[in-house]
């Protein structure tokens, strides 16, 4: 495979495009609401009308607005159909040449779509994730070719540093610095690893990228491997994502067949092999040292750092671990340049961030916005606020490791520093909106139950501490707690945060601490003598 071959494939793919293209979402969200039946019905309708040479039905990845799925969009007209049912497909096809279809037409000019800036999701919902030609036609693998033939590994690392990309897994460590560290460490064997063990309740960004544009991750990995001097990569993906795994397997097979992975990629001396490792369903395996243990075939438990994986990771070799979304940013940065990337976002948080909007919000789904976009814009404008005229009480970001941001702080821009200032974190991008019906003690208790169940059991504060925090929260919820219990809860949370071995334990108390800080009245209302359950969600002992 050479550049001319790549361009040929792209040209043929574009030429074979039919004048009218009907894109149908086949990502997990829409598939769960009859997406596959909709696509089949569209195919049948096209065949029944004898439109095969003019109309093409394409199964694509996520188009973002999951709450209105299954989604179907028609090119070039741009008409978006929402909540499409198989029986409506005949009328959609009939309306392709003008006229109205018997289906809900979505407004593509609303802020949910217009406020987005697509970098990571630029191909999502546009290309067929199961065809490598479709990715190549969207300029795929061109960046890899450029890197292998026109750049030194050091130049690639410099570009990533100049772009100012920070890790999208949550902590926001400068990606370029991590790459430089691994590149500088001398070793015979190095690895690159993709952390696709997304386990935060309410988050599905990584799943969506893997399902919608798997080749982008492979290209990002290959560029990273070239930059740091690795020849073997692993995608560690959670077993709960079967569709993402299958599309990734397809993508690896296609790329290998075309010589874009394997030995002598693009006829260069660079060799790169990618394998998939499927997680058995442990939240802690998203922690990098536990993830490494799991790939090695051991029990997935974290170990103290240092040594960091960049110095001693998989099988004791220097290992580069980045999140799915981080790798997804790599190809566009090399294609469009570090300056272009650095021009998006804020001074310290460059680029865009993908968020999974969920909870009490009108438009749930996936959005990508420039860093620094105010939370209010996301929740109220793009998300459409709380349905049925309710008011936002809090926005939970960062999953079990994050915190609840109160309504009064909705003007906080979403970037790493600002979110930390209000006691939350970016996390991997889960965003759950809560309204006045939600009791914050119950919310904190939910996240603590999650952490308690997902603790690996290795260190005492996390294993035994989360259990006791959960018990104290239950006691408060059940109106059995005293002021002393509240004080113990605070001390225990501080202690678990300060003393736990890994990020899971260190951040587990965050939802409790942030709700204690912003919603003390929810706690206070439940302290004291037992009484009848009140209207604000304080349920009697049931669970």
């Amino acid at each position: 495979m050479e550049l001319s071959d790549l361009q040929d494939i792209a040209r043929k793919e574009r030429e074979s495009q039919k004048p009218i293209r009907v894109r149908c979402c086949t990502a997990a969200g829409c598939l769960s609401s009859q997406g596959q039946a909709v696509k089949s019905a569209l195919d049948e309708a096209v065949a029944a009308n004898g439109l095969e040479d003019r109309v093409q039905v394409i199964g694509v990845g996520c188009m973002g607005l999951c709450s209105e799925g299954p989604l179907v969009q028609v090119d070039p007209a741009g008409t978006l159909y929402e909540r499409v049912e198989p029986r409506q497909c005949a009328s959609i096809v009939a309306a392709l040449d003008g006229g109205d279809a018997d289906a809900n037409v979505g407004d593509t000019t609303r802020p949910f779509f217009t406020r987005q800036v697509a970098v990571v999701l630029e191909n999502s919902g546009r290309i067929d994730p199961e065809r490598i030609e479709s990715y190549i036609a969207a300029d795929g693998y061109h960046a890899l070719h450029t890197v292998l033939h026109d750049m030194t590994p050091a130049q690639v690392v410099e570009t990533i540093i100049a772009a100012g990309l920070r890790g999208r897994g949550g902590a926001g460590y400068p990606t370029g610095l991590k790459w430089a560290t691994v590149a500088k460490t001398e070793a015979d064997r190095k690895f690159v690893v993709v952390n696709a063990d997304e386990g935060d309740p309410g988050a599905f960004m990584d799943r969506s990228v893997l399902e919608s544009d798997p080749h982008r991750i492979l290209e990002g990995m290959a560029i990273a491997a070239y930059a740091v001097g690795a020849s073997q990569g692993y995608v560690y993906v959670r077993g709960e994502y079967p569709l993402a795994i299958s599309r990734l397997q397809t993508a690896i097979r296609q790329a290998r067949r075309m010589g874009l992975l394997g030995t002598q990629v693009f006829e260069s001396p660079f060799n790169f092999r990618v394998d998939i490792r499927i997680g058995a369903g442990a939240f802690v395996c998203g922690e990098e040292t536990a993830l490494i243990r799991s790939i090695e075939g051991h029990r997935g438990v974290p170990r103290p750092r240092p040594p960091y994986p960049a110095a001693s990771g998989l099988f004791g070799c220097p290992t580069l671990i980045n999140n799915v979304e981080t790798y997804a940013n790599i190809a566009p940065i090399l294609r469009k340049g570090a300056e272009w990337f650095a021009s998006i976002g804020t001074e310290k948080s460059k680029g865009t961030k993908v968020f999974a909007l969920a909870g009490k919000i009108t438009n749930t789904g996936l959005i990508e916005v420039p860093m620094g976009t105010p939370l209010r814009t996301i929740v109220e404008e793009m998300g459409g606020g709380v349905p049925d005229g309710g008011t936002v009480k809090a926005v939970q970001t960062g999953g079990p490791s994050g915190g609840c941001i109160p309504q009064s702080a909705l003007d906080t821009p979403v970037d790493y520093e600002s979110l930390a200032q209000v006691g939350s974190i970016m996390g991997s991008g889960g965003m759950i909106v809560m309204d006045e019906q939600d009791n914050m003690v119950e919310v904190a208790r939910f996240f603590m139950e999650f952490c308690m169940d997902e603790s690996c059991g290795k260190c005492v504060p996390c294993r035994a501490g989360t259990v006791q925090i959960h018990r104290l929260l239950t006691k408060i919820r059940d109106r059995r707690a005293t002021d002393e219990d509240l004080a113990t809860l605070r001390t225990l949370c501080e202690m678990v945060k300060q003393t736990s071995l890994c990020g899971l334990g260190q951040s587990a108390p965050n939802p409790v601490l942030s709700t204690l800080r912003y919603f003390p009245e929810d706690y206070r209302a439940l302290i004291g003598a037992p009484s009848e359950p009140s209207a604000n969600g304080a349920a009697p002992r049931t669970a």
Binding site: D453, S455, K458, R463, Q498
Partner: protein, 238 residues
Amino acid sequence: MAVRTLTIDGKPVSALEEQTVLDAARDAGIEIPTLCHLDGATDVGACRLCLVEVVGTNRLLPACVTRVAEGMQVVTTSERLREYRRMILELLFAERNHVCSVCVANGHCELQDLAIAQGMDHVRFDYLFPKHLVDVSHPRFGVDHNRCVLCTRCVRVCDEIEGAHTWDVAGRGSRATVITDMNVPWGSATSCTSCGKCVQACPTGAIFRRGSTVAEMDRDRTRLDFIVTAREKKQWIG
């Protein structure tokens, strides 16, 4: 071998560069409480009792896996550390069913000693009273999960010193338990060589010699030391 100079609790201490803060402190006669650390086995930094403060960093660092560094200023006791250590011990006591008065290790128990040394005189948390069984299927030894603190010393000595890897951990969170082979009764674990190293290693009365009665369990850790020294330094001295 290079030497580093540091201060521990204000006392100047010199240590070999590969030494941990824990080793350096012990050499200097400063005791840092530990539960999962065992000389001769790799450190896992799991019990968090040996956390110390290091001037210049906000994070608490586990002394057992933190290497000494030139000019490092270590604080091993502070009000914060004392409070956290007591709380960790309270959490352990509340987690399983530790009843000293009917335990084989009473009077020879590291958990008990630590509680006394750290001034833990009551437990603030609810006792969880989990249902745990006692496995006496092995002809010579037994394991009482009610006393287990999951320090994994048994797992490590069995794997690293005996080379059998009979012990491991199964389950997550507070449901984690030590198991033998593929979670079979100890007596049926075919990989077990009955060497008794796990019995020597256990800090509490969780792994014991059958036939021991209350407060009878005493341990001879020099046996483990002997094997480790023999292996690492090729010196066969008892």
